[in-house]
Amino acid sequence: MNFDDFKMMNNADGSFNKVLVEPAELCVVLSYLKNNAEFAFDRLNTIIAVDLGVEVGKFELIYDLHSIETGKTARISVIIDRNSPHIPSVVEIFKSAYFDECEIYDMFGIVFDKNSDLKRLLMPQSWIGYPLRKDYVQNDERLAWND
């Protein structure tokens, strides 16, 4: 893994650069970026999930890291398959990822391995379907009274 790619990421000039990472190397990369004194990205701002479409057949996850001392930001991008979306969880590195991952599971159906307590966060527990996917259609007959 060549960490020199990260040196060119800087949000000061307004550009948006992201570095593509394999799902298996994700935890290694994030913990290196957090502990290294030169980068020092110690705050996970958010995790963003994007549905790239049914034809493309992939999900993209963007990890937005901020640094407290230097003020720089970094974006790590991971692409996973749509039909069986699994990705390792980063809860052990950043505790704030727990709510993010539960919400992404709720909205997209992406399963985070090693996250022991993955559950629906924003929708009711009996909801059927993953709302933010591009092919989501709400045809729940039980809720027909709302039409």
Binding site: M123, P124, S126, W127, P131, Q138, R142, L143, W145, N146
Partner: protein, 204 residues
């Protein structure tokens, strides 16, 4: 005889309409305007709503301020059923009147009159405190037109056509239930001379 009833009516309704105590049911942005109405500039206490009760057992007005989602709907129905008769509902804000700007969202109930009966609809997003006070005055006028001869009808209450599902967090349709609503909704001129003793006002 009618003179006695109408004078008792007058005093009974005057006492009730001048001291309506609302319940705090603030979900969303309209809740802030409701709090501004109870603050110093637009004082709601001068209209009789001296205190906002926190529990439904002690309140007689439910000002539903804010968007109602599918997850919140069972709580709203339960709170309405816990209020003692006679009770009234003001649907405050565009979201409660008919969904507002969120009609095409997957998780918003398009208007609370699908769940509970509503007396006054108050559109605007959010309504100014003067508008909320205007709707309160309209409700007071509506109360003054009631009569104690029809009291039994108000006690009969509202049976909803919705029930909780097995996980107890979604409201789904309950087939075979007829909704009974005793003419509490409708326009101001309707009511006293209409014969409501025959049966339910409409079938669901």
């Amino acid at each position: 005889m009618n003179v006695i009833i109408s004078s008792i009516d007058f005093i009974y309704n005057w006492a009730r309409s001048n001291s309506i105590w609302p319940m705090t049911f603030a979900t969303s942005c309209c809740g802030i305007e409701m709090m501004q109405t109870s603050a110093a500039n637009f004082d709601i206490a001068r209209f009789g709503s001296e205190v906002f009760r926190a529990t439904p057992r002690q309140a007689d007005l439910l000002i539903c301020a804010g968007t109602i989602t599918h997850k919140m709907a069972p709580a709203l129905l339960k709170l309405y059923q816990q209020m003692p008769e006679p009770k009234y509902v003001i649907a405050m804000g565009a979201c409660t009147c008919g969904g507002g700007m969120f009609t095409d969202s997957y998780s918003v109930v398009n208007g609370i009159d699908k769940i509970i009966p509503v007396d006054i609809y108050l559109p605007m997003c959010p309504p100014k405190p003067e508008a909320l006070l205007d709707s309160l005055i309209k409700l007071q006028k509506q109360i003054r037109k009631e009569t104690i001869l029809d009291r039994q009808k108000y006690i009969a209450g509202h049976i909803s056509a919705l029930k909780l599902d097995e996980n107890e967090d979604l409201l789904i349709e309950d087939s075979g239930i007829i909704v009974q609503s005793w003419g509490l909704t409708g326009d101001l001129n309707e009511g006293l001379d209409k014969d409501l003793s025959g049966g339910p006002a409409y079938e669901f």
